[in-house]
C-alpha cells in the first residue's frame, strides 16, 4: 500500500519548479491545446508532434525531473493507450486494407499511431505539471485562477480548501487502509484468491471501517478548525504569496512559439501538399 505514489510531486529546485503555479496551470492547458491543434492528415502530422515532443523534453530538462519518472507516468496509463489504439486499428473502416481481405486499413493504422502520440504527449505535459507543482500549490493556483467565478457567487475559496484537504488526507487514509487490511487479514480475510465478485465482496470489511474513520477524521478536523476560528475568504492573508516573474515570461514565450510553430506546420505543409 505504501508504494502507491499519488500526486507524484518531485521535489527539486529548478527553473520549472520556481515558476508561478497559476502560469504553469495555464501553460499546461495551452500545451494540451497545442497538441490538439496538430492536424490529423496522415502525411505531415508527425512534425507538429515532434515540435510538442521537443518542447516537453526541453521542459523536462529544465525541471530536473528524471526521465524515467516521466516514463513511469506513461506506464501508468499504458492500458488506456493500447485500448484506444486497438479500437482505431480494428474499427476504422476508412482507407484501403493493408492486405487482401484484411480488416486493418492504412487509415486505421495512421489513426492508431496518431491517437497514441496524442495521448502520450498530453500525459507527459500533465505529469510535468504535477511533478513540478506540489498539490497545495496547484490548489492555491486554481483558487486564484477561479477568482472571477466569485461574481456568480461560486464559493471559490471553499472549493480550493476542499481540494487541498482531500489531497492532504490521501496518504493518511492509505496508512489507515493498510492497518485495516492487516487487521482483517489477521481475522482470516482473503483478498488474493477467488473471482472478481468474491474479491470485491472481500473489500467490504475494509471499506466500511475506512468510511467510518474518514467521517470521524472530518468531524475532528472541522472541530479543530472551528476551535481556531477558521473562516474562509475575506481578509485572509497568505504565508506564500504567488508572484509572476521572469521565468514565467520565458515559459509563456516558449509556449507561444510552440503554438505558432504547430499552426505554421499545419498551414504551410497543408498548402504545400
Amino acid at each position: 500500500m505504501k508504494d502507491v505514489s499519488f500526486g507524484q510531486y518531485y521535489p527539486a529546485r529548478s527553473f520549472v519548479h520556481k515558476m508561478d503555479a497559476r502560469v504553469k496551470i495555464l501553460l499546461a492547458i495551452a500545451y494540451i491545446v497545442a497538441v490538439f491543434l496538430v492536424k490529423s492528415e496522415p502525411e505531415f502530422y508527425f512534425l507538429g508532434f515532434a515540435a510538442c515532443f521537443l518542447f516537453v523534453v526541453i521542459a523536462t530538462v529544465c525541471s530536473r525531473v528524471p526521465f524515467f519518472k516521466m516514463l513511469k507516468s506513461v506506464k501508468a496509463i499504458i492500458f488506456f493507450v493500447v485500448f484506444s489504439a486497438v479500437l482505431q486499428l480494428f474499427f476504422n473502416k476508412k482507407g484501403t486494407p493493408l492486405w487482401e481481405g484484411g480488416f486493418i486499413t492504412d487509415a486505421g493504422l495512421y489513426n492508431a499511431a496518431f491517437i497514441t502520440a496524442r495521448i502520450i504527449l498530453i500525459v507527459l505535459g500533465a505529469s510535468l505539471l504535477t511533478f513540478t507543482t506540489s498539490p497545495v500549490e496547484i490548489a492555491d493556483g486554481l483558487e486564484s485562477l477561479l477568482t472571477p467565478l466569485k461574481f456568480i457567487k461560486f464559493p471559490v475559496h471553499e472549493f480550493a480548501l476542499v481540494m487541498s484537504i482531500a489531497l492532504r488526507f490521501i496518504p493518511t487514509l492509505l496508512d489507515e487502509t493498510d492497518r485495516i487490511i492487516k487487521a482483517q487479514k489477521s481475522r482470516g480475510a482473503d483478498f488474493e484468491t477467488g473471482n472478481v465478485f468474491k474479491r470485491v465482496k472481500a473489500l467490504i470489511p475494509v471499506l466500511i471501517p475506512l468510511l467510518i474513520s474518514s467521517f470521524r477524521r472530518a468531524d475532528e478536523l472541522a472541530d479543530a478548525m472551528d476551535a481556531r476560528c477558521y473562516s474562509g475568504s475575506k481578509n485572509r492573508t497568505r504565508y506564500k504569496k504567488m508572484k509572476i516573474g521572469w521565468r514565467d515570461l520565458i515559459g509563456t514565450l516558449v509556449l507561444a512559439a510552440l503554438i505558432t510553430g504547430v499552426v505554421l506546420l499545419n498551414g504551410v505543409l497543408g498548402v504545400a501538399v
Binding site: A183, G188, A189, P205
Partner: protein, 291 residues
C-alpha cells in the same frame, strides 16, 4: 507453540534504494509456550514490524533470517498462513476500528467463517456467544446491536471477541491499552490474564507502559533502532538503568521506589510487581510502630 526468530531483518521500501529504511536488523529471540512476553521500545524502534511477522502479515524477506511459530516455518513459501492466523490472534492498536458488520454477532463470527467455513450454524453461534461472554459483554443485550451503537469500551471488547473467537493459542497485542482510562486499563489486563488461563497459552504484548510490563510480564525484550538490546525478566531489564536511558524509556513505579529507597539506605528486592513490592516493604517495617 514456541516462537523463535533467528537473525531476523526487515527493510521497508525494498524496491527503491533511496527510500529504503531498515526497520529490523538481526533480531533473534525465543518466546516459550506459557510466557507473558513484553515488547518495549520507543516509537519507530521496530516493535510493530516485529510482531507483524508473527502471523505472516509481513513476510520474511529473502535472506533476512527466519521465523518459526510452533511447526510453522514462516520463511517457507508454502507455509499455510491461514491456519497459522487462526492460531496466532492479533489485537491491534485501537481494535475497535476494525468493526464493520451490521450486528456484533456477525462481526464476531467473521473470523470463524473465514477460518472454519465447515462449522454448522449451531456450533458457530455457540462459539460466538462464548467469545462475547468471555470479553465481559452481555450477549443478550449486544448480540443484535450494531457495533457502532456500543460505547467506546464495549466496542473494544467486541473487537477483541472477534479475535479470540477462534481460540488462538498465541495472542499478540499491539498497544492494547492505548486510550483507555485507568479502570478500563485494569479491567482490560484482567481480561487478558483470564484468557491466558484459558485457551491462550502465550501472550506477546507491545507496550509503552512500563508499569504494565513490570506488573504482568514474565519476560520482556527491549527494542531500539530495530535491534533487541536486552531480553530478560522485568527485574533484569529495569536493573540496567543505562540501557533504558539510551532508549528513552522510563522505570516502572516499583523500580523507581526501590531505587529511591536504596539511596536512603533501605534495600528492598522485589520482583517489581506491586504486590510483591508492598509485601516485602511491609515485612521490613512490620516491627516499626507508629510514632
Amino acid at each position: 507453540m514456541r516462537i523463535t526468530t533467528e537473525n531476523l531483518s526487515y527493510s521497508y521500501g525494498e524496491n527503491d534504494k533511496t527510500l529504503r529504511v531498515k526497520a529490523l536488523s538481526g533480531v533473534s529471540v525465543t518466546v516459550n509456550e506459557g510466557e507473558f512476553f513484553g515488547i518495549i521500545g520507543q516509537t519507530g524502534s521496530g516493535k510493530s514490524t516485529f510482531v507483524f511477522h508473527l502471523n505472516g502479515l509481513i513476510r520474511v524477506q529473502k535472506g533476512c533470517g527466519a521465523v518459526y511459530v510452533g511447526d510453522y516455518d514462516l520463511t517457507d513459501k508454502k507455509c499455510d498462513f491461514k491456519s497459522l492466523r487462526a492460531k496466532v490472534g492479533m489485537v491491534f492498536q485501537y481494535p475497535e476500528y476494525q468493526l464493520f458488520a451490521e450486528t456484533v454477532r456477525d462481526d464476531v463470527a467473521f473470523g470463524l467463517k473465514n477460518f472454519f467455513p465447515g462449522l454448522s450454524d449451531k456450533e458457530r453461534a455457540e462459539k460466538v456467544r462464548r467469545a462475547i461472554e468471555t470479553v465481559g459483554l452481555d450477549y443478550a443485550k449486544v448480540a443484535e446491536k450494531s457495533p457502532f451503537e456500543l460505547s467506546g469500551g464495549q466496542k473494544r471488547r467486541a473487537a477483541i471477541a472477534g479475535v479470540i473467537v477462534t481460540e488462538p493459542e498465541i495472542l499478540v497485542l499491539d498497544e492494547p491499552a492505548a486510550g483507555l482510562d485507568p479502570v478500563g486499563k485494569r479491567e482490560f489486563m484482567n481480561l487478558v490474564h483470564a484468557l491466558h488461563g484459558k485457551f491462550v497459552k502465550t501472550v506477546v504484548i507491545v507496550s509503552h507502559d512500563m508499569n504494565l510490563v513490570s506488573e504482568n510480564c514474565t519476560r520482556a525484550a527491549v527494542f531500539s533502532h530495530g535491534e533487541i538490546i536486552k531480553t530478560g525478566t522485568p527485574k533484569e531489564i529495569f536493573a540496567d538503568e543505562r540501557t533504558l536511558e539510551n532508549t528513552g524509556l522510563d522505570l516502572p513505579v516499583t523500580a523507581f521506589l526501590e531505587k529511591r529507597l536504596k539511596e536512603k539506605g533501605v534495600y528492598i528486592d522485589s520482583d517489581l510487581t506491586i504486590k510483591d513490592f508492598t509485601d516485602k516493604f511491609a515485612e521490613k517495617f512490620a516491627g516499626v510502630k507508629k510514632q
